[in-house]
């Protein structure tokens, strides 16, 4: 009885191995048809809507061609709900224009702003396609910790790190204690950053910005893990719902 209940060792006959190899080959063949859609996402709709005129939709495009932020990692960076809303009612995030704009250092961007408006249908379709644009090989981020609500005490502690220790406030708009906008205008505004950006992406950006931006104007830092999490949590704390 006991012997009958024991699992039998699987013996692979030569015919069985052949069958398994054949199955594997069919799977590989099937994946080769399916996978390219992921490896090279369809950007035709984005191009049709004019996105490629200013934004790079793949990292191979020349760095000099960009007039707006890169979008080939939009799916990693943005929150879909925010994208759909913003594409219908775009507000200026980079108050001095994009870093390559010839008028950037004068605070007079030559590129017409704000961003073109889309209707709801188009905004949803474009968002859907943008969210497909992702980078491969991104390292893990401690999502649970990063998305934890921030206590008031920790927020003040992290504010000091953000403003005083690392001087981020010199270039990025944040808020003062009365929730009023305060800070520089050369970097993207962080007002509503928590509605706009995914916490995991902010963490990855702070850890290794070179992965996403080959030639930015922001200084590079070597934050330790505690600082990475603290600054990420402080950045994504900036939400419309936080009284701004």
């Amino acid at each position: 009885m006991i012997l009958n209940r024991m699992p039998r060792p699987m013996i692979l006959s030569s015919a069985g191995v052949g069958w398994q190899i054949a199955r594997l080959m069919v799977t590989v063949l099937w994946l080769s048809f399916v996978m390219p859609a992921h490896a090279t996402p369809d950007v035709s709709l984005l191009k049709k809507n004019g996105c490629a005129e200013c934004h790079r939709l793949n990292p191979e495009a020349p760095l000099d061609s960009r007039k707006g932020p890169d979008l080939f990692f939009a799916g990693d960076k943005f929150q879909a709900d925010w994208l759909t809303r913003w594409l219908q009612e775009p507000v200026v995030i980079r108050l001095s224009g994009f870093i390559t704009d010839t008028g950037f250092l004068k605070g007079e961007p030559t590129l017409a702003t704000p961003h073109p408006k889309l209707d709801l249908g188009k905004a949803e379709a474009v968002t859907g396609h943008l969210m497909q644009l992702r980078m491969e090989g991104l390292e893990d981020a401690p999502s649970a910790e990063l998305n934890e609500p921030l206590s008031k005490g920790k927020r003040f502690k992290y504010k000091i790190l953000f403003e005083r220790e690392y001087g981020c406030i010199a270039c990025h708009q944040s808020v003062n204690l009365a929730y009023q906008p305060r800070g520089g205008v050369s970097g993207p505004s962080l007002l509503s950053a928590g509605d706009r950006l995914k916490a995991d992406w902010v963490y990855r950006w702070l850890k290794n910005p070179k992965k996403f931006e080959k030639r930015g104007r922001m200084p590079l830092f070597e934050f330790n893990e505690e600082e990475l999490q603290a600054l990420t949590r402080y950045v994504v704390w900036h939400k419309q719902s936080e009284g701004q």
């Binding site: 250092l105 001087g167 010199a170 708009q173 104007r217």
Partner: protein, 159 residues
């Protein structure tokens, strides 16, 4: 004929001597203003005669086109295109960015102090915390060249 040849020889010798004197005078006038700085090449120069001029002194980290581009790309965001402390972030910082054309202040700061503040940030140098650290972005040579560029902008040296 012999007298004419002797005269020619004397004329040649005096011409060579005149040239040597003139050259040594040019060399001296060039080296004087930068006498406090170390020359780029410290290897001993071959001595041809006792009264030879000292080699021209060159800035160790000269200001290049790359230095000016680096300043425009990074520093000008706060310090302004011409270094006058009026960059696009200037109206929004708690402490106004330094005006790099102002000799009255910059001649009170040594090159080492300027280097330290660029590399480690304002807070580490006892200055404004709005100035971030650039030591992970720019290498030491670039920072030294930026210090020299600031010296160009203020047309001043450390007193």
């Amino acid at each position: 004929m012999r007298r004419v040849e002797v005269l020619k020889n004397w004329m040649m010798i005096s011409l060579v001597l005149l040239l040597v004197v003139l050259c040594s005078a040019c060399g001296e006038s060039k080296t004087n203003p930068k006498a406090s700085e170390a020359p780029e090449i410290s290897a001993p120069q071959p001595v041809t005669q006792d009264a030879s001029p000292s080699p021209p002194r060159v800035k160790t980290h000269p200001v290049t086109t790359g230095t000016r581009e680096t300043y425009q790309w990074y520093c000008a965001q706060c310090h302004g295109i011409k270094g006058k402390g009026n960059g696009i972030n200037a109206p929004h910082t708690a402490v106004p960015p330094r005006d790099h054309t102002k000799a009255e202040y910059l001649e009170t700061r040594s090159d080492e102090q300027l280097f330290h503040v660029i590399k480690f940030g304002g807070l580490a140098g006892g200055r404004a915390p709005c100035m971030p650290r650039w030591g992970h972005t720019l290498n030491d040579d670039t920072i030294h060249a930026l210090v020299n560029y600031i010296r160009e902008l203020c047309e001043c040296d450390y007193l």
